[in-house]
């Protein structure tokens, strides 16, 4: 076993004392989430703050948020493979696992929002008849395709590393890795590499369509101001890329610190990601500006009054906080860092990335809720109930829990030495 392999395997072999309390805490929050959902299941969606005017709330916000996070993995690793950006190879797998975990949580968010989750199978039964019409089904199709493709895409190149794990463990752990490796042959990597390249080519357009169909759920409804519009696709993709890349920066910074992987994850990776994040956040801010200008210049009733609610109304505090502290400030920091030669500050880069991720959650809230509440008749307000908040917190904890457990089972960095080029 090489020194590199040894290093990457270390989290799988050893567990620090702090690990278990951390996992326990996440598990407890997840249990609270299950408890809250049980209440909702037994009593109905009335336990939420939703009403006949504000029909969608934080569950749908969470759904878009998780779909956004899921963007990161494939974008990064497919780009690494297609454009031969070998420098970023070490973060490819940690990004792919984020994709997988958040896609599962996104699917769960939709089920949680259903009034009759026991009937969700009817979407499958009536699929052939409804796929021609319902954007919700288009989205489920896109997300499902994306989930299957990205799982395969994560798994195939990982077999090589799982074989290393199998060979270095004994007992039940050896058997566990054995199960994950049906038909493994030494030297299959050559075929798999070719396969993975073609999969990367396939996955990129699917990824674009996933975020576009998510936007279509909303943007095809002509009665909903600031949802309806042709630019929603690019707008959603920009948000997804920003929150996705930002969360990968955070994860990479955490594992780097936690496992002392300073040499495996060199600062250049963070510089590159930070620069990209700066540009994409700038593009997002630009799209926000364009949207607001269009809504306000002539000021057609629907768009104008929703915009008023965003900018000066009851959502103004959230809106301006997320725009200034959540997007503009990190963007300026990352841009300054991009233009200054020399070392980058990984800590601050990851702090501002965290801020962007949080801001993007609230941005989705601003997209969903005001359009429904403003102009509804009779007027109804929406405040998420404690059940909703517990479910939101719990689903985030569940995501972290899934990720933490996978961190202990899968070599999170590809063991193969990255080619420098």
């Amino acid at each position: 076993m090489t020194e590199r392999q040894e290093k990457i395997m270390r989290p799988l072999r050893t567990t620090s004392r702090e690990f278990w309390p951390f996992v326990l805490a996440l598990a407890l929050i997840t249990v609270a989430f299950i408890y809250a959902y049980t209440i909702q299941l037994s009593q109905g969606l009335g336990v939420t703050g939703l009403n006949d005017i504000t029909i969608w709330g934080v569950y749908i916000v969470n759904f878009i948020f998780f779909i956004g996070l899921s963007h990161a993995g494939i974008a990064i690793s497919a780009a690494v493979r297609i454009m031969s950006l070998h420098r970023y190879a070490p973060i490819a797998r940690m990004a792919e696992i984020l994709t997988l975990a958040s896609l599962m949580m996104a699917g769960l968010s939709i089920v949680i929002d259903l009034g009759r989750p026991d009937r969700a199978y009817l979407m499958v039964v009536n699929y052939a008849a409804r796929i021609g019409a319902s954007p919700l089904l288009w989205d489920i199709t896109a997300v499902g395709t994306y989930l299957i493709l990205s799982t395969t895409y994560l798994y195939l190149p990982m077999r090589e590393d799982l074989a290393v794990c199998r060979d270095s463990f004994t007992g039940w752990r050896r058997r566990m890795y054995e199960i994950t490796l049906p038909g493994y042959e030494k030297g299959e990597e050559k075929v798999i590499k070719r396969l993975a390249w073609w999969m990367a080519v396939t996955i990129l357009p699917v990824m674009v369509m996933v975020h576009t169909t998510v936007s279509w759920i909303f943007s095809l409804l002509s009665n909903r101001p600031l949802w309806f519009g042709a630019a929603a696709g690019p707008y959603f993709i920009a948000a997804a890329v920003a929150s996705g890349i930002a969360s990968v920066v955070v994860i990479a910074a955490i594992v780097r610190k936690l496992f002392n992987w300073e040499d495996l994850l060199p600062p250049e990776i963070f510089r590159g990601l930070g620069n990209f994040l700066a540009v994409i956040t700038l593009i997002y801010l630009y799209l926000m500006l364009v949207e607001q200008f269009t809504a306000r210049y002539a000021g057609p009733a629907g768009e104008f009054f929703v915009s008023e609610a965003w900018l000066f109304g009851s959502y103004a505090t959230v809106f301006w906080t997320l725009t200034t502290i959540g997007l503009i400030l990190p963007c300026v920091y990352l841009l300054v860092q991009a233009f200054r030669p020399g070392k980058i500050n990984i800590t601050w880069t990851s702090v501002f990335s965290t801020v962007i991720v949080i801001a993007m959650w609230f941005k989705r809230y601003i997209i969903i809720v005001p359009t429904l509440t403003v102009g509804g008749s009779p007027l109804q307000t929406y405040t998420p109930s404690w059940i909703e908040l517990t479910i939101i917190g719990g689903s985030l904890a569940a995501l972290a829990l899934i990720y933490t457990i996978l961190l202990k089972l899968i070599p999170i960095i590809e063991m193969e030495e990255p080619h420098h080029g």
Partner: protein, 292 residues
């Protein structure tokens, strides 16, 4: 499998996919594919569609005195629950005389009252809404299971057994016509009518709904397709503000009204083609309570 075979296989698969997709898209418009499953599976829930009919309702907003008789009668007729949360298929808004229709269903956000206690009130007029049974309904398009659909006589209905409660139809409806069962609806065997104080039993002709499904006005499908020419709200209106009929029948009340009065429909720019027409014979309630 040899290499060539695999490639041929993939090519063939792609070709089949393309042909199938084109066939689906070119053969039928998005509107057409929406209803077929649902019509079949909703058999038994509602009487068969009236062939050749196109039902429409017309509301004389000048005549309406806001008494809410229609609203309560509708609730009793259609087993719409009061508990645990009050659900309504008809919304009634009290508007100040200076305020236009757009202030209810549109922007800017309105404080038009639905909670008024006395009517008619000086200087006010009343506007009532139920499902518009649009000819080009945006709600049926988006439904992922076909639970809500448009039938041959134009009625937009909900098959409560297929509804998964995603509320996408509510998001798509420009008129907030739909209401959702947030809780388990309570359906007592009989209720006291707030109109005349009489005990009214549950209507056996109208299916009960469960928690987690969407419901809305059906134009009293169980009556109009079963010999009774009018929905309950039309029947009970004390000032004859509501009119109902078949637009395809030139002798029907709505057909004749449509020829003689000036009408408007709400949010026509959305091309939903609503089947609820508003008109007024130029009457508003004057400050002294007299009709002008």
């Amino acid at each position: 499998m040899s290499k060539i075979n695999r490639r041929d296989f993939v090519k063939a698969l792609a070709a089949v996919g393309v042909v199938a997709t084109l066939g689906k898209v070119s053969g039928k418009s998005i509107k057409d594919v929406t209803s077929e499953v649902s019509k079949k599976s909703a058999k038994g829930l509602y009487p068969e569609a009236t062939q050749g009919a196109r039902y429409a309702m017309m509301i004389d907003s000048g005549a309406c005195i806001g008494c809410r008789t229609c609203l309560h009668a509708c609730k009793l007729e259609n087993n719409v629950p009061d508990e645990p949360s009050n659900m309504e298929w008809i919304d009634l808004f009290e508007m100040e005389n200076t305020r236009p229709v757009s202030e209810v269903h549109g922007m800017p956000p309105t404080d038009s009252s639905v909670d008024y206690t006395e009517s008619p009130k000086e200087g006010h007029w009343y506007l009532s809404f139920n499902c518009f049974h649009c000819d080009n309904p945006p709600c049926t398009k988006v439904c992922p299971t076909g639970a809500t659909y448009q039938d041959e006589d134009g009625l937009v209905l909900v098959n409560y057994d297929l509804c998964i409660g995603c509320r996408y139809c509510m998001a798509a409806c420009p008129y907030n016509a739909r209401t959702f069962n947030w809780w388990d609806p309570v359906n007592p065997p009989s209720r006291v009518s707030p109109i005349d104080g009489e005990e009214v039993p549950l209507n056996p002709k109208v299916p009960l709904r469960t928690r987690g499904v969407v419901e809305k006005c059906t134009f009293c499908v169980h009556r109009i397709r079963d010999g009774n020419p009018t929905p309950r709200c039309v029947e009970v209106c004390p000032v004859n503000a509501r009119h109902f009929g078949d637009l395809n029948n030139p002798e029907s009340e709505v057909s004749r009204l449509l020829k003689t009065v000036r009408t408007h429909r709400i949010k026509e720019e959305l091309n939903t083609q609503p089947m609820l027409y508003y008109f007024t014979r130029g009457v508003k309630w004057k400050d002294d309570g007299e009709k002008i």
